[in-house]
């Protein structure tokens, strides 16, 4: 029987090399972590201000919206799809709900608003999922279509103007403090409570992906749709779920965006898709589907936020930012390049 046993017949050395290699491939977040440490140490050496509490707080704050998008995108990517419409969904929810609430129910408490936004996002997401499923076209193409529709709808029918008259509950929510630190220079640094939303979303996403049949079904469909269908996984359910989940998170992200910024700009958010994709890919998710982890995604988001936020500190002209991110993506692609040689 021994021929059927999986054996590693190579020598000790090669075996351990192979093991490390395989371990790295199966644990891509390690690479992301290494990059984060490298960037942090370098910038910290150039500019000691980097290690200020306020800077850490700012990074956390800046990660929230990207992080929520990233988690949604991860789930879609794991199921083998790609979504370009989540920012449009978030922008629509953000602007529509904010203006509507301000006009007719400015007293509405934030939790209710969040639920409405999440529901709205979910509904649009379900639409996305159904379209992707029934049109049998690549999700990339379908969501390019829906993102145009959603954004066109927002700007044609809802409004285009910067809206500053944010209802109080929304504004208060963004100001709610988790932690406040007085710095030596007299200014204060605040860690807003809404960063907990990202933590919660990460935990929920992790739980769904790893502890429910849906999670495994997502990876199954992402690995090989036709086989998964044969095994009894319902591809339609999975596709609808992942897009609905992404819409759900996008709706919440949109409201958090308003809450944090205290303005609702309908032109915001759209255009950040590529950054989100970059973050998720830097976190080691397979762009071809069927792979990826919550931890990796969060690390990817941190890395991108790092690069986007600390260049002034490091004295690097912000003109270099785009270039650096681009190179990181190529690097990540090369490291995680699991494209099977045909």
């Amino acid at each position: 029987m021994s021929d059927f046993v999986w054996t590693n017949s190579t020598s000790e050395d090669q075996a351990s090399m192979k093991r490390i290699g395989r371990w790295l491939i199966r644990n891509p977040p390690v690479f992301t972590l290494i990059l984060i440490v490298l960037v942090s140490v370098t910038i910290g050496a150039i500019a000691p201000e980097f290690w200020q509490v306020s800077n850490i707080f700012d990074m956390a704050r800046a990660s929230v919206v990207t992080g929520l998008f990233g988690l949604g995108f991860l789930v879609i990517l794991a199921a083998g799809g790609i979504d370009l419409s989540f920012t449009a969904i978030a922008a629509l929810m953000m602007y529509w709900i904010t203006t509507a609430v301000a006009a007719s129910a400015p007293w509405m408490p934030m939790p209710v608003i969040l639920v409405i936004a999440a529901l709205g996002g979910t509904i649009i997401g379900i639409g996305n999922g159904l379209l992707v499923h029934y049109l049998r076209a690549p999700a990339l193409i379908v969501t390019i279509g829906t993102s145009y529709v959603i954004r066109g709808f927002l700007l044609t029918f809802i409004g285009t103007e910067l809206f500053v008259n944010i209802p109080l509950p929304i504004e208060e929510f963004g100001k709610f403090e988790l932690w406040r630190v007085q710095t030596d220079t007299g200014s204060i640094a605040i860690l807003p409570a809404y960063v907990l939303m990202l933590v919660a979303a990460a935990v929920v996403t992790w739980w769904i992906l790893n502890r429910t049949l849906m999670g495994r079904a997502i990876f199954a469909i992402g690995g090989n749709t036709s086989i998964a269908e044969r095994l009894g996984y319902d591809a339609r359910k999975v596709q609808v779920f992942v897009f609905a989940f992404s819409g759900f998170l996008a709706g919440i992200a949109g409201m958090l965006h308003v809450s944090a910024n205290r303005i609702a700009n309908p032109f915001d958010l759209v255009g950040t898709e590529l950054t989100v994709i970059a973050a998720v890919v830097l976190g080691g998710a397979r762009i071809t589907g069927g792979g990826g982890s919550v931890l990796g995604t969060i690390l990817g988001v941190v890395l991108i936020t790092l690069v986007n936020n600390v260049l002034i500190l490091a004295g690097i002209p912000s003109t270099w930012q785009t270039f650096v991110v681009g190179c990181f993506i190529v690097l990540a692609g090369a490291v995680f390049g699991t494209r099977k040689s045909a």
């Binding site: 500019a47 201000e49 200020q52 306020s54 800077n55 700012d58 800046a62 700007l155 409004g159 285009t160 103007e161 910067l162 500053v164 710095t183 220079t185 007299g186 200014s187 204060i188 640094a189 605040i190 910024n261 205290r262 303005i263 700009n265 309908p266 032109f267 915001d268 936020n309 600390v310 002034i312 500190l313 912000s318």
Partner: protein, 310 residues
Amino acid sequence: AADDVQITTVVKLAGETWFTRMDEGVVQYGEETDGVTTNEIGPGKADAAQQVRLIEDLIAKNVDAIAVVPFDPPMLEGVLKRAMDRGIKVMTHEADNLKNTQVDMEAFDNAAFGAHFNDQLADCMGKKGTWTSFVGSLGSLTHVQWADASAANAAEKYPDMKLVSPKNESFNDANTAYNKTKELLKKYPDLKGIQGGSAVDPIGIGRALEEAGLVGKICVYGIGMPNDTSRYLKSGAVTGISLWDPKDAGFVMNKIAKMLIDGEEFTDGMDLGVPGYTNMKLKKGPGKGIIVTGQAWIDVNKDNLDKYDF
């Protein structure tokens, strides 16, 4: 009516508060003036390519005059030249470096405007301390002119004011302005003054200062829209804003376009019938066209905020 002359105003970005206000002036001019139909269009994305395409189609459509607020003036040289070659009248706003225009209208002298910002800031800061400036983007000519004039003014009049990291780009986005401000606060803890560039900069800067508990400790001036900025003016996070009313600008742009169509002559000191544009200064532009300049700026602060509802 169908045989009306058609004047189309092309703005940087459709739907933005500033240009929605401008649209009011555009529409008003069209309604008040017989034989003229006016409208305002703009790209859905802040993208020079789309602005070029819009103008291409206007040329094909053969409108009588185009009034443009260029997203990035040099990008429009070619297409505006073609418009003029086809006999379409071309006037521009906020583009005094543009060669291919017949008339460029500036609401005021940009250098003076920049210096005015700096004087206000110096007053507030007690004529000393570190300060910095923002621009929408390095490509936004007027923003750069204000920032440069302001720096020159400080260098000349206020030796104790130290300019650091000048001309930060906000890309016309309040959130970018917010993030940049926070970074600047970390890098320069002794910052005492900030000058905004684009109309949304004070919003972002104001929020950053509120969050850092620095309201009243740092002076902020810049251009902005009264309604958008009101809360930060009230809280004191933004000390004051200056601006020209886009509605008036839109009205005047179309009036100038109509004058071009009618072949009227432009004279130094002419009166365009709108406050701030009653004594237009006239000078030669970089191309064949002329530049006409008004004195249309207004200063808005906590105290006179109520007078401006836009």
